[in-house]
């Protein structure tokens, strides 16, 4: 499973747990805050991805711009995993 699929599956797991309703199709340019997850949902998503991938890029990377879209969110994780491998 690639990172994008991992994130999408984690989003749907978290939506179920946190009683959020994800929008039908999440596109690369979908705004995170309009995907159906609220701030609690995002906090849970970051915690779940940390368990699965072993990284929390929001504490480990010096992110100067926060991700606003789904594609940017996935890119932050891709970058984090790459740094972890190095």
């Amino acid at each position: 499973m690639n990172i994008e699929q991992t994130v999408k599956r984690a989003m749907s797991d978290v939506a179920q747990l946190s009683d959020c309703q994800l929008i039908e199709t999440i596109e690369p340019d979908t705004l995170l805050l309009q995907s159906g997850l609220d701030s609690l949902g995002y906090a849970m998503l970051v915690a779940q991805l940390e368990e699965e991938l072993g990284i929390d890029p929001f504490t480990e990377l010096a992110i100067t711009v926060y991700p606003a879209t789904f594609a940017e969110f996935v890119a932050v994780y891709a970058q984090g995993l790459e740094q972890k491998r190095d």
């Binding site: 747990l17 946190s18 009683d19 705004l31 995170l32 805050l33 309009q34 701030s39 609690l40 995002y42 906090a43 849970m44 970051v46 915690a47 929390d56 929001f58 504490t59 010096a62 992110i63 100067t64 711009v65 926060y66 991700p67 606003a68 879209t69």
Partner: protein, 447 residues
């Protein structure tokens, strides 16, 4: 003796409150406040529960009844249920669509708006009103703490620069942080924009249109705003953080985006009021303050590594048990000195801060323990980079029961009774929990 109305009367620059559809000058709100006071003469020296509707209407109530009623309980529709039922309740709505209480004809309204303000005589009768603000208690029932206008406005300032600001309120004005924003805007002569929508992106677009230049929010709210891609549309000059521990990466991000803005971290609580303000863009506070004090407050660290604070204002009598013989209040915040800074580690009591919302572990534990088959439960916070902390529960079950059915029941019970932020995001099945000799759960390993 000053009341809120007298602080605003005859100001050179007067504030304005903006909603999505209307704008109210403070002269106009004072006119309405005078009418409310006249209409409710019987409330003189009596307690009143003021129910929040919107910032402008709420301000009318505060202006009318501060210095007039003995006590003002600042309520939402749900908080008012915890107030003594014999107290008068009042929900003011000054919007034209629901003017049940306002006895102004359109003509009167126009005259009042045009006239210079002459109602100061109406506010001359003044007593010191106790302002009551609710904090979430351990049992889930709100606890009420009293303040005075003087203590609530200790950290508010007025200057030409401050009066030029346009504030937006992301907090509820009947809570401590929201009231601070409202009072800062009113007493400094600034403009205040209501964050009327539930949706952050809609609010941010509204704030951008109104050119909001001052914003107060929890660190979690700031992180969320950073995710909207809209933050840079606001010409921010004053950035205020509070309600949670402020971390250095967030301060660095905000100061990189707004190098010229004043960035202030307010250390305050509903129970004790404002303690101090840190404005040097660094996490924690300077270690020198332990010797010198800050503003009119004195600080020290006790033998349990708790921060103690001695404010200049009088504290609510309910806090007596937490105040030592020299007048220092135990804030229950654990701190640690690192180099030249004192850094915050978390709450000693185990209270979990989820994005600025307090979660009492005992309350969540009691609900988990009410599920058949659960023997022990321990609820604690797990560090989270989005909301500061999330709630996690360790659970010991009777070996005759099945974990998947019990965890399902725990989730269902929690959903039924708790607010969303209080529900554990993770349930961990463990074999046993460490209990101290006094029979209490050992919370220190998770603080």
């Amino acid at each position: 003796m000053s009341n809120l109305a007298s602080l605003l009367i005859n100001r050179a620059v007067t504030p304005v409150i903006e909603s999505a559809s209307q704008s109210f000058s403070v002269e106009w709100l004072l006119e309405l406040a005078q009418q409310w006071r006249e209409e409710y003469q019987h409330l003189k020296n009596k307690p009143l529960a003021l129910i929040y509707t919107d910032s402008a209407s709420f301000s009318v109530g505060l202006l009318a009844f501060d210095g007039f009623c003995s006590d003002l309980y600042l309520c939402s529709a749900s908080l008012v249920k915890s107030i003594d039922p014999s107290y008068q309740r009042l929900s003011i709505n000054i919007y034209p669509a629901s003017e049940q209480h306002i006895k102004l004809s359109q003509e009167d309204a126009e005259i009042a708006q045009k006239s210079s303000f002459r109602v100061d005589h109406a506010f001359t009768h003044t007593i010191v009103t106790r302002w009551w603000l609710a904090s979430s208690g351990t049992s889930g029932q709100p606890k009420w703490f009293s303040h005075s206008l003087a203590s609530l406005t200790l950290s508010t300032k007025a200057s030409p620069t401050l009066s030029a600001l346009c504030w937006a309120n992301l907090y509820q004005p009947y809570r401590y942080a929201g009231l601070q924003v409202l009072l800062q805007a009113l007493t400094s002569g600034a403009t205040l924009v209501d964050g009327s929508s539930e949706d952050l992106i809609t609010n941010m677009k509204h704030f951008a249109r109104e050119k909001v230049s001052a914003l107060s929010a929890t660190p979690s709210m700031w992180r969320q705003m950073l995710m909207t891609n809209q933050l840079l549309n606001l010409p921010l000059k004053r950035i205020t953080l509070g309600g949670e521990t402020v971390d250095q990466p967030l301060l660095d991000k905000l100061s990189a985006l707004y190098p010229d803005a004043s960035i202030r971290h307010i250390y305050a609580s509903t129970e004790a009021g404002v303690g101090f303000v840190v404005a040097d863009k660094l996490a924690g506070f300077p270690v020198d303050w332990l010797q010198q004090g800050v503003g009119r407050a004195q600080l020290r660290i006790d033998e349990n590594q708790h921060l103690r604070i001695k404010p200049s204002h009088k504290l609510d009598a309910q806090l007596e048990a937490l105040i030592d013989e020299k007048g220092y209040l135990d804030t229950q915040d654990q701190v640690q000195i690192e180099g030249e800074r004192v850094l915050f580690l978390g709450r000693a009591s185990g209270v979990i801060n989820v994005g600025g919302n307090k979660v009492h572990p005992e309350k969540v534990e009691s609900i988990i323990l009410s599920v058949a088959g659960v023997l022990q439960a321990k609820v604690y916070g797990q560090a989270n980079s989005v909301l500061g902390s999330l709630v996690v529960a360790d659970i010991v079950i009777d070996s005759h029961h099945d974990w998947s059915s019990i965890s399902h029941s725990v989730r269902e019970r929690c959903k039924l009774i708790l607010q969303r932020f209080e529900i554990p995001v993770k349930l961990r099945h463990i074999d046993s929990l460490v209990v101290s000799p006094t029979g209490k759960l050992n919370r220190s390993d998770n603080v």
